[in-house]
């Protein structure tokens, strides 16, 4: 149990007849960052709400830091840092007031001035929440989530509405969280965010898990999808295509493209075929899939 920050098993979340989450299982190890990646409406926020104890699952089980988020709500809350997708703050409270309020709830709070500095909010300490821009409100919500020195933080679309600089600051902050041993479960629809921050990525689509793994595993599992070979022109490639589950074309004279899901064996076979054909191979290039290719392939057909 010590090793696991969040354990979600076969969780179903329904709103009336609409099934938002349909049998999702995932694990966030202690000290790791897990990104829930998916389009709007994929069920990410619904799953997060269940982990945060705002509602119970309609089926399945959730354990957060070994506790039940609904039944053990009051014991769990001081150990969590929660950042909602939006709102959650009195519009007429100043940034400084509200951060100090949340700090006063904690036994060992962080220094609020340090946190305001770190998130570039010091000059807004006396500004009311409603006068902050969307990105500034997001950063304040992040500060509120962190001020109690939690073991585990839930970040729902943490960089939504932030400009490039603020996003960079936030990413660096999340990196420091991991470095200091805080576990993080975040949702995002930004591929670069998931790829650069997360130890584990869970891709959700229409309420189910479409794929799961480290960013490297996800791209590696998809393999190499394009092999470019430069050799003598006008080779009889139809014979090669027949032996492969791939499309082989000669795009320009002497430039062959082999497109398809290629593993090591099939690449060896392709190069062997060129050797057998007596061709002089002068260049070989591969193109690996990116997380974006994986993601788009998995969520194809979903509304964009």
């Amino acid at each position: 149990m010590r090793e696991t920050a969040v354990e979600v098993q076969d969780v179903v979340v329904k709103y009336g007849d609409v099934v938002a989450v349909d049998g999702v299982s995932l694990t966030v190890p202690r000290g790791a960052i897990l990104a829930l990646l998916g389009n709007n409406g994929a069920g990410k926020t619904s799953l997060l709400q269940v982990c945060e104890g705002f509602r119970g699952p309609d089926a399945g089980t959730v354990r957060v830091l070994g506790l039940d988020p609904v039944a053990d709500h009051d014991d769990l809350m001081p150990r969590l840092g929660i950042m909602l997708q939006s709102g959650g703050v009195y519009p007429w409270a100043t940034a400084g007031d509200i951060l100090r309020l949340f700090a006063s709830f904690a036994a060992n709070p962080l220094d609020t001035d340090m946190l305001l500095d770190r998130l570039g909010l010091r000059k807004f300490a006396k500004t009311t929440f409603r006068r902050l821009s969307g990105g500034e409100q997001q950063r304040l919500s992040l500060a509120i989530a962190l001020v109690g020195r939690p073991e585990l933080v839930f970040l729902d679309e943490p960089t939504a509405g932030m400009d490039v600089g603020a996003r960079q600051t936030t990413w660096e902050l999340v990196e420091s969280l991991r470095a200091d041993g805080v576990s993080v479960l975040l949702t995002t629809h930004l591929l670069d965010e998931a790829e650069s921050l997360a130890d584990h990525v869970v891709i959700m689509d229409n309420g189910v898990v479409a794929a799961t793994g480290t960013p490297a595993e996800l791209t590696a599992a998809a393999g190499i999808d394009l092999l470019l070979v430069r050799a003598d022109p006008a080779l009889p490639v139809a014979g090669l295509a027949a032996r492969l589950d791939a499309k082989v074309t000669e795009d320009k004279p002497g430039e062959y493209a082999i497109a398809g899901s290629l593993d090591t064996e099939s690449i060896a076979m392709v190069l062997g075929w060129f050797a057998t054909a007596g061709a002089q191979v002068t260049a070989v290039n591969t193109r690996r899939r990116t997380l974006e290719d994986v993601y788009l392939a998995l969520t194809a057909g979903a509304a964009r």
Binding site: M77, P78, L80, D180
Partner: protein, 255 residues
């Protein structure tokens, strides 16, 4: 980066609950004080009624003792404006802004949040009633103090009933509609609740239909006449409190 590593090393824990509740009540009071319209509604309107109806012949009141009729009514009115109207509007917006949801998911906890709100309302009601009673005394009202405890008792009951109604309203309606409804009810009660002039004679049913009239009547008996609070007032306010709090407990929504 300027932050040293180890800054975020987990050290979770809840501050002592008394300190948490004190800070939350302080925040609730601070935010109320910052909202000008809330202060006007809670203090300005009752003050205007007190001075207008209490010192001039602008309205007809039963009996000869104008201040003896008007001041207890104004005290009852200010309880309603804070515990019902102000509370309903604030709660409606706090729900729509996600504040209730967020604070409920903090070390404050949901029961702690409800306690803080109640305590803040209690503080405000006490402050306002004292301030307005003081103004009443300054302009010539001479309350009887022998029945002060029953007067405090019915005021606590009325506060509970109004709080319940406010939370119920804010849970059933959108915040804009809540604001409109709570303000409309305030104006209707101000007109028909027996504050500036006698309430419409509805017979014994009157004090059950109009909690404001029942509260005002009870305060007049206790503070102006020094007599005991009528049983009908006790019954009416107890009934209102029971129904409103039960309804609020069943229907209250955090988000």
């Amino acid at each position: 980066m300027t932050t040293e590593s180890g800054t975020f090393t987990p050290a979770p824990g809840r501050a002592p609950m008394r300190a948490i509740l004190r800070q939350q009540v302080r925040m609730e009071l601070l935010l109320t004080a910052r909202r000008g319209e809330a202060v006007v509604l809670a203090m300005g309107v009752p003050l205007l009624v007190l001075l207008g109806a209490g010192l001039t012949e602008a309205t007809n009141v039963p009996g000869d003792d104008r201040l003896g009729f008007v001041v207890p009514g104004v005290l009852a009115l200010t309880v309603m404006s804070t515990a019902f109207t102000g509370q309903a509007i604030t709660t409606g917006y706090e729900r729509s802004y996600g504040v209730l949801k967020r604070l409920g998911a903090s070390p404050l906890t949901r029961p702690g949040l409800l306690f803080s709100k109640t305590a803040a309302i209690g503080c405000l009601v006490a402050l306002q009633v004292l301030a307005l009673a003081l103004v009443g005394v300054v302009v010539g009202w001479r309350p009887e103090l022998s029945q002060i405890l029953p007067a405090v008792g019915v005021t606590a009951l009325a506060t509970a009933a109004y709080c319940g109604l406010a939370l119920l309203l804010a849970s059933l309606l959108r915040p804009e509609t809540t604001t409109a409804a709570a303000t409309l009810i305030y104006v209707l009660m101000l007109a028909a609740g027996g504050i500036m002039f006698a309430a419409p004679d509805l017979g014994p049913a009157g004090s059950f239909l109009l909690p404001l009239a029942a509260h005002a009547d009870a305060l007049r008996h206790a503070l102006t006449e020094g007599s005991s609070v009528p049983v009908s007032s006790w019954l009416s306010l107890t009934l209102w409190a029971a129904v409103a709090l039960t309804g609020a407990a069943r229907k209250f929504r955090w988000e």
